[in-house]
């Protein structure tokens, strides 16, 4: 078990190295950020001085070397715009993203798993015909449209929920629904397929030959088995959500790392872009690792420790 985790962490470090390398070079393709930092009437000498100050006039590989060495010291550089450590800015925003992500995930799970179950169990019945279009709608509505629609209805027309900003449960509702809708649809679909698959398994027939009632078959046998693929999906979705929701955070002016990404890209704030990508990737990788470990807890077949030897 320990070896498994160590191996996965080494893999994670390699992935992060790759991601950072790509980001480092890609942001530098966008041109000299100094032009955005100086006032419009700045002289060429001012620009040259600031470029030199930021080290952007050095050869690219030289900059890359310094970048890597600094990272090993936990230093991702200072934001060009805010003159604060880039990592600190990102980590300061991160709790907001976590808050929104958890809330969106809870919203989607509360509906997705029951929908998946009901549409599988009542396949061909009216319940399925009612719910499946709702799922399809959720999946096909992009956040920039559904978000604005929700704002129009609940904030502008009825004035019962705030249209933007952070603070309190009320402000959390609309962004969570907007963000959770797509997650809801994909988790509902996966659970439906998973429940359908499990319902045809031989062990379900075995349970019936024991005289088990339908409710018992579902709750005791099918549910846990069906949840395995769902957990994988939930893990991927959670990792996605924790990486920051660019569009949703923009629409609702939610101060998470998604919004920060947009702001720092727009102002060519290289260190912050790099820090955002680093944090998002690390969270993604760690979330997937925890899902793998969780899988082992739920499914004895993938447990690394041998139960029989206990």
């Amino acid at each position: 078990m320990g070896r498994f985790i160590v191996r996965r962490l080494i893999q994670a470090a390699l992935s992060l190295f790759g991601v950072l390398t790509i980001v480092f070079f890609v942001v530098r393709l966008t041109g000299n950020p100094v032009r955005l930092l100086v006032p419009q009437n700045a002289s060429a000498a001012d620009i040259a001085r600031l470029t030199h100050q930021l080290g952007l006039d050095r050869p690219l590989l030289d900059q890359y070397g310094t970048f890597l060495v600094n990272i090993l010291h936990g230093n991702l550089g200072y934001s060009y715009v805010q003159s604060q450590p880039a990592l600190g800015i990102v980590l300061g925003r991160f709790p907001n993203t976590v808050e929104l992500a958890i809330s969106a995930l809870c919203f989607s799970l509360v509906f997705a798993i029951p929908i998946g179950f009901l549409t599988a169990y009542f396949r061909g019945k009216w319940i399925e015909r009612l719910l499946m279009p709702v799922v399809a709608l959720g999946q096909s509505m992009p956040a920039f449209w559904s978000g604005i629609l929700l704002v129009l209805v609940f904030a502008v027309h009825w004035r019962i929920l705030p249209s933007s900003g952070q603070g309190g449960i009320k402000a959390l509702i609309l962004p969570s629904i907007t963000l959770g809708m797509i997650t809801l649809a994909s988790i509902a679909r996966i659970s439906r397929v998973s429940f359908l698959e499990q319902l045809n398994k031989d062990y379900v027939r075995t349970a019936r030959t024991k005289g088990a009632s339908t409710a018992r078959v579902m709750v005791v046998h099918v549910f846990r088995n069906a949840l395995l693929p769902v957990i994988t999906m939930v893990g991927l979705e959670a990792a996605n959500l924790l990486g920051g929701a660019v569009i949703t955070e923009e629409i609702f002016a939610w101060p998470g790392i998604g919004q920060l990404t947009v702001q720092s890209v727009q102002s060519s704030d290289f260190p912050v872009v790099e820090a955002v990508v680093l944090v998002a990737s690390a969270v993604y990788i760690l979330t997937n690792l925890s899902v793998d470990l969780l899988y082992g807890i739920i499914d004895p077949r993938v447990r690394i420790k041998r139960v029989g030897s206990r």
């Binding site: 031989d202 062990y203 027939r205 075995t206 019936r208 030959t209 005289g211 088990a212 739920i298 029989g308």
Partner: protein, 350 residues
């Protein structure tokens, strides 16, 4: 040969446990009902092992599922009755039937690898039968499961109780399935190809176990199999099915010595060889294949593959007729005696 109302053999006696009488089952395919079992009749005495044999698609498993009341959503009984211990179970409601499943009828399946819930410890899966049928209390149930594990020959019951299915071999899983089927001491055990997925040595052990269960507990067994070899090992009586119909039934020794239906003769020949052949190394086969659902001919279903077929076989379905003690055959043109001598293993008389 005299016509006879099928399955009247043990009817009058108290020794009859299961009576399947003129059972017909239909499948609903796109709004149209297609018959898949037609007028299947056979019975099982108390403590008797009856083998139901035939190729894949002959309706053996469907018959088994009909008895335990687990036909699928689109499948239903369209005629006939199933009587268990004097009670007509074919007309029971699903709730009533649920009470019978597990408690009065136990069932085991072909694939012990997938028939158990992979996420539940096997002890708990066996114990669940006792929980469902409210047998015993918390303490006694565990003791009962351990006792069952010992009965079915699972080594180290306490360890097995805590293990998951993937930690057991195929033979051990089938033993767990049998323990589960026997947990509530049902009078009838339905075994649907119980040994097909197992190694030959394990097969023999499982068959021995079934026979042992019958001897010790007096459990009747319906043994569904495609394997005449398996039948010869343990069955007392054999019911041969073809295309959803019973074509011949007889005590096992009688069938092996004096099979009359060309299909039974073919099945036996394909396993044991037939002395019709000039001492050839090759086993004879039955040419052709089982007709699919909905394309069963109106005459004798076996006619297209039958070497003995005569004109009447094409037009009329042969009635069941008695050709000896407890020996029934549904054929217009049965194989004449004496015609074959069996090679290989001896067949015990029942």
């Amino acid at each position: 040969m005299q016509p006879l109302e099928a399955s009247t053999m043990f009817k009058a006696t108290n020794d009859l446990l299961l009576d399947v009488d003129e059972l017909s089952v239909g499948v609903n395919v796109a709004g149209r009902e297609i018959g898949v079992l037609s007028n299947v009749s056979f019975n099982v005495g108390k403590g008797e092992i009856v083998g139901v044999v035939g190729e894949s698609g002959c309706g053996k498993s469907l018959t088994a599922l009909a008895i335990i009341g687990l036909l699928g959503d689109n499948v239903r009984i369209t005629g006939g009755t199933i009587t268990l211990d004097g009670e007509r179970i074919s007309s029971l409601s699903s709730t009533q039937m649920r009470k019978i499943r597990g408690s009065r009828i136990g069932m085991i399946f072909q694939e012990p690898m997938v028939a158990l819930n992979p996420l539940m410890r096997v002890g708990r899966q066996v114990k669940e039968v006792l929980v469902i049928h409210a047998i015993g209390n918390r303490k006694s149930r565990k003791a009962r499961v351990l006792e069952l594990f010992r009965q079915v020959g699972l080594p180290d019951p306490k360890l097995r109780y805590r293990q998951f299915p993937h930690q057991l071999s195929g033979g051990m899983r089938q033993r767990v399935m049998i323990a589960m089927a026997l947990a509530a001491e049902p009078k009838l055990l339905i075994a649907d190809e119980p040994t097909t997925a197992l190694d030959v040595t394990v097969q023999a052990q499982i068959l021995d176990l079934l026979e042992d269960i019958r001897t010790r507990l007096g459990t009747s067994v319906v043994l569904v199999t495609h394997d005449m070899g398996v039948v010869s090992e343990v069955a007392d009586r054999v019911v041969v099915m073809y295309a959803g119909q019973v074509v011949e039934s007889a005590p096992v020794a009688e069938l092996f010595e004096n099979a009359r239906h060309p299909y039974s003769v073919g099945l036996l020949g394909s396993v044991f060889g037939s002395n019709f052949e000039e001492s050839s190394d090759e086993l004879p086969t039955i040419s052709g294949r089982v007709p699919s659902i909905g394309e069963v001919p109106s005459g004798c279903p076996f006619e297209p593959r039958c070497e003995n077929a005569i004109d009447v076989c094409r037009s009329d379905r042969p009635p069941a007729a008695s050709v000896g003690t407890n020996h029934i055959v549904a054929c217009w043109s049965p194989v004449e005696l004496p015609r074959m001598r069996l090679f290989g293993k001896g067949v015990e008389s029942s």
